[in-house]
Point group: C2
Chain length 237, copies 2
DNA sequence: CGAACCATTGACCACCTTCAATGCGAGTGG
DNA sequence: CCACTCGCATTGAAGGTGGTCAATGGTTCG
């Protein structure tokens, strides 16, 4: 019998936390090169790149937030994740980007041309391995999201999502956690594979269950963290 | 206005094709080390590793097929992908495996301890970059699957899945493609986020629409490839 | 031959979507 | 200052897609 370890509902969209968690805090080669790379600003709603663009650069988000998504011909959208400060953007193996990256607010990114990156990778053994760790981190996040879109109900999805956001926000106040949601209901819906109406209704249900409280629609107070965790794992009715 | 490039319904589960497509056919370092790594056999239904196991080894599948999946506490299962000969298994950034890998038939895998891999990566610049490319390839597959589980209908999902399988099988006969499905309806369902009943019913509908024909339940004849492609992109009723 | 597993089909129903109306807040211009 | 608009969130009603439960048939294996 297979020992089913708990599937952790992390959605850890921290794309380069492998980097941040590096055992050696001495500036890694990737870190070193990136910190010297030129900085560019993007306005809210501006695209860093779109699907089909040549994959010319590796980016690191310095400030702001970026939404990664795919679209179908009829406009249906799947959000793949959100990037925050410190995250690498533009990892991939093909010649062209396979998804879109759009700043959700004013953002600053460091830009490292892939041509240069490949040159570095050829001489610096650590560099390629750092890239690998960042990609593997993203892969784990994608796998977590797959569990949600494929198996979880709307309630379970939103609970798992809120837990993941709580884990990166972690602003505690008078006992219970406060979560800031720097994205719209539409972003959340397209992330979880739900409509905005379902997202909104599920927020309402969570409020009625006294599990969360909504100060504004962008700020969630977690009243019962245990219940939220049970919900995310499908252990509640 | 954003130029919406066609979202390619690939599901390219070929995990290490970055490797196979390497421009230099000269044995890469990864290739070289792996070809010298010890070989181990796994019987059908045997697990290569399970979620929570220490991530001790990097594997390459030499023959057979391996199913990668996550499970929820109540038994719901999400298949993340299928690995075939040549694919790398066991990529990740955490200390423990975050999903299960189960041989679906008798399989042989080469085993390279991560401790050794990290030592190689420290000296061989190409090695880490190859790992990165393999991880990025898997990431793209996961993103494609997300589009399916998150946005596509059952019909669209199955069409996209069949197209992806056709792309890797490609056995043509008297004009139309033949697809072999080396997995059960349950595997397909858990992959696409559907139940086996829905998968079965959707196969039946595709047959009634004269888009496919089912010789056996494991062999699909594609009668109308264009219609299948339209379906996968949501461009048909 | 029986057992076990898998696939198919049917009936029913629940969850989520769709369509629609309302409310709310920010930004803009009269 | 206020009316207007626009975008976003919420809520309601109706409908459909896919899930659940159940029965049947086919295939493989012991």
């Amino acid at each position: 019998m297979l020992a089913h370890a708990q599937a952790s509902p992390t959605f850890d969209t921290a794309r380069a936390s492998a980097l941040r968690n590096a055992p050696a805090p001495s500036a890694s080669s990737l870190e070193g090169h990136l910190s010297r790379a030129p900085l560019r600003s993007f306005g809210a709603k501006e695209h860093v790149f779109t699907e089909g663009d040549p994959r010319a650069n590796l980016y690191r988000l310095e400030s702001g937030a970026v939404c990664l998504y795919k679209v179908m011909p009829d406009g249906r959208r799947q959000v793949l994740g959100f990037a925050y400060a410190g995250d690498l953007i533009g990892l991939g193996s093909s010649a062209e980007h396979q998804f879109n990256a759009q700043a959700t607010k004013n953002s600053e990114l460091r830009i490292l041309p892939w041509s240069l990156a490949q040159r570095i990778a050829r001489t610096d053994p650590e560099f390629g391995f750092k890239l690998y760790e960042a990609a593997a981190q993203e892969l784990a996040a994608a796998h977590d999201l797959l569990l949600t879109t494929g198996q979880r109900t709307a309630m379970e999805s939103l609970a798992a999502f809120l837990l993941a956001m709580a884990r990166r926000g972690r602003r505690a106040k008078d006992g219970h956690t406060i979560i800031d949601l720097p994205m719209t209901r539409s972003d959340i819906g397209d992330f979880l594979g739900l409509t905005i109406e379902t997202v909104s209704r599920t927020f309402t249900k969570l409020r009625q269950l006294k599990i969360i409280d909504l100060a504004q629609c962008t700020q969630v107070h977690v009243l019962d963290m245990d219940a939220l965790e049970d919900l995310a794992q499908g252990e509640a009715g």
